[in-house]
Amino acid sequence: MPPSFPHPKQLARRRFVQGLAAGGVLAATPAWIRAAVANKTRLGAAPVLSGRVIDLVIAETPVNFTGVTRMATTINGSIPGPTLRLREGDEVTIRVNNRLAESTSIHWHGILLPYQMDGVPGISFNGIAPGETFVYRFTLRQSGTYWYHSHSGFQEMTGMYGALIIEPRSGERHPADQDHVVQLSDWTDEDPMHAFSKLKVQSDIYNFSQPTFFEFTRDVSSMGLQAALEKRQMWNQMRMNPTDLADLSAATFTYLMNGTAPANNWTGLYNKGDRVRLRFINAASNSFFDVRIPGLKMTVIQSDGQDVEPISIDEFRFGPGETYDVLVEPNDDAYTLFAQSMERSGYALGTLATRQGLSASIPALDPVEWLTMTDMMGAMSHQGMNQKGMDHSAMSMGNMDMGGMDHSNMHGGMAMDHSQHSGQSMPGMNQATRSPLAKPSSTVRHARTEYGPSVDQRVNTPRTTLDDPGIGLRDLSEKGLRPQGHRVLTLADLKSIDGVLDDQREPVRELELHLTGNMERYSWSFDGLEFGKSTPVSLRHNERVRIILQNDTMMTHPMHLHGMWSELETDQGELRVRRHTIPVQPAQRISYLTTPHDLGRWAWHCHLLFHMDAGMFREVVVS
């Protein structure tokens, strides 16, 4: 086994970050919960429920992850909730009994079903009132790794999530000797609404990686006064924080792997020579994780429950709602599953080992990297300007000189396309003669509501490529943070296997929406309109439609569209991969196609729970 890299460093082991060794759901659970649990609870792994009829009980259960006892909202008394192992093609009946004092719900994340079964209170149904039992009944039309969680208030953040695995009728494409669910999440002892209201007052309250004066003086001595000032000029002028990588951090979170704090070291077992399948699910409320297993290559075989062409990588980033299935072939005794949070304040941790009690070395957290001009304004920063040398004076906020941008080209290209519109695409036709909707429009169209108080910045030259691993994961080998040849997964690497993307029709129309926000006011929205001010997006039943999402903020948003697939394409209109949750990077413009097969009203939102609740949420009507 190659030595783990970089050398482990003793971290400040605060209880908050590490959690309490004896933590977890407290043993003293009421008898009725134990009765509701079909299988025996194993340490660090959720009980598994299978079959066609499932009973779930939602209740408050005391937990202690940090040394303080708090009430969690649990499913059958465990965190995560039970892993549901169901079978493709089965009609399942899932009875959910609410023993809370408030309304609850369960949403089956990524599952195609009738909208009344989707579990979003106020959109698909009325929610499950206290004391009531709601019966979900639907037929599983797909297979793969998914998950389920509450869609009511902040219940998901206080423990209401579990894995949902649907076994394919035709058998697994990649049989494995071991199969482990690795569910990552974030736990706070605070009342989530209190945390949210604090962000409303001071949006950087959880950021302890802010630029400081002494950092500035260090830059002055290393790069000179002029360069040190230039590095900060644009950020300060625009009132933007270059370390605004996440709204919450280990200042309040303890990161969990399968409901287990790092100090308690969740362990997944294998025998030497086994082929091990790891089903990674990001069930966090507000945290992106960068996952790696030092010393082991991972072969990604599935993303968001859909098989992809296998790709060998060393690390991947994923946001709340996304899932990745990987295969690993461990030959040593123990490996660390290391998942540092994107803003580098903490990590979730576990071990893959041949027996309980083993551990491998723990990598150090990476340093916090400042967002770049690419993250702020997209493609413009590629045009012959590097970070340090860029001419800020020519690009100041009020009078951005965009003379060099060739807009006439874009518009000209569009016009030509229109004139030769044939109404259908033909294989083999070259780019110039394809219909205008063969590839996504590149003309940025801001909504008129993006010019008000709800939006703190707009991107005019978005980047459209999919091959950026994102801030903090770029050029890691060159920076000495990883071994040479270290490969980080990007969206561009993902390709659904043949037969997954079955609808080859060209879209009949194109919808463009922008992801927007105002960090200072802590407001998040589509097109500058929070949910309460928005109107639904109306889609026609079975139409092939393109959705363009442009991110006008400096945060990555995992966008989850309920009820239908999001089929990601390149900026050239080449279909790539089928997803249910697509992370859109800062200043990025991406597009995906969808075919709404199921009638009804559906939710569409950022899966960072606080962004969703702040208003980055739309309703979709399929009629």
Binding site: V201, F213, M397, M400, Q457, R458, K533, F617
Partner: protein, 281 residues
């Protein structure tokens, strides 16, 4: 003396115009390619263009009755911010400077309260009750009333109109114009900056000035620039909501205000150490 006053007024005009420029830049539409502020071009996209006329409560498959799903954008929040709560060594007074708000992201009820307590009694205080409304991404307009109370003097009431927010380069600004009875006018301006020495140790320079339209002999206030205070406070944030500080504040009075001071046997200029607590909840 005269010259100094002129210089100060010029500086003030510059400061105010600087603020105006900052606001104006945020407001100004200098072309489509601007990244912040501005106004929407005529051909800007309609954010409701994809709705087919449906709303959250009408159209196919809408839930019956009142809309159930309300997110935080429709909630009201509140906060109490104790910006300065300090003991001033020289004048042996305790000063409070609090702001509280209740409301949504874009519309808020704002209360600003400032006063001096000395020898167990409230010497003077000034309280604003305002409606804050979002002007742009970073600034709110504020409209309301202010009541000034003096233990020795004549209480005054004002109509208030101002702006508060975050200017470019992270300057916190709060500027309010006042109109009182008998043609009285006043202008109060505050600017703060936070220099983060470390993640928890923060140096906060602060400037505050007051102008009056005419003399108010009862309260010892002269017309024109009345007083200017420059302070610097060093705080340690045990957490973001609880930060004790020490500092020094220099206050100078001008024109007739300075004369009133002298006549009352007080110094027109004063420098003193302060120690206090910054907090919010």
């Amino acid at each position: 003396m005269r010259l100094k006053k002129t210089k100060l007024l010029a500086a003030l005009v510059l400061a105010v115009s600087g603020i105006h420029t900052s606001l104006a830049v945020a407001q100004m539409d200098s072309g489509e390619m601007q990244m912040q502020g501005g106004s929407a071009p005529a051909n800007a996209r309609d954010p409701h263009a994809y709705s087919d006329g449906f709303t959250l409560t009408t159209g196919p498959y809408a839930q019956e009755g009142l809309r159930q799903l309300k997110l935080a954008d429709e909630h009201a929040f509140w906060a109490v911010l104790g910006n300065r709560f300090e003991y001033q060594q020289d004048s042996k007074t305790t000063l409070y400077d609090f702001q509280a708000w209740y409301g949504t992201t874009y519309d808020r009820l704002v209360i600003k309260a400032e006063g001096d307590v000395s020898g167990g009694s409230l010497e003077e205080s000034s309280t604003d009750l305002l409606w804050g409304h979002a002007l742009n991404a970073y600034f709110d307009t504020q409209l309301g009333v202010r009541a000034d109370q003096y233990s020795e003097g004549t209480d005054r009431q004002w109509l208030a109109m101002g702006v508060q927010g975050l200017a470019s380069y992270w300057f916190e600004l709060d500027i309010t114009a006042y109109v009182g009875d008998s043609g009285r006018t006043a202008l109060a301006a505050e600017a703060e900056y936070e220099l983060r020495l470390t993640q928890r140790l923060i140096l906060q320079p602060r400037a505050e000035l007051n102008l009056y339209g005419k003399d108010d002999g009862d309260n010892g206030l002269g017309s024109g620039l009345s007083d200017l205070a420059l302070g610097v406070r060093l705080r340690y944030e045990f957490n973001r909501q609880f930060a004790p500080y020490i500092g020094v504040e220099w206050t100078n009075t001008y024109g007739d205000t300075a004369d009133y001071r002298r006549a009352a046997g007080e110094d027109r200029t004063n420098t003193q150490f302060v120690a206090g607590l910054r907090f919010w909840f």
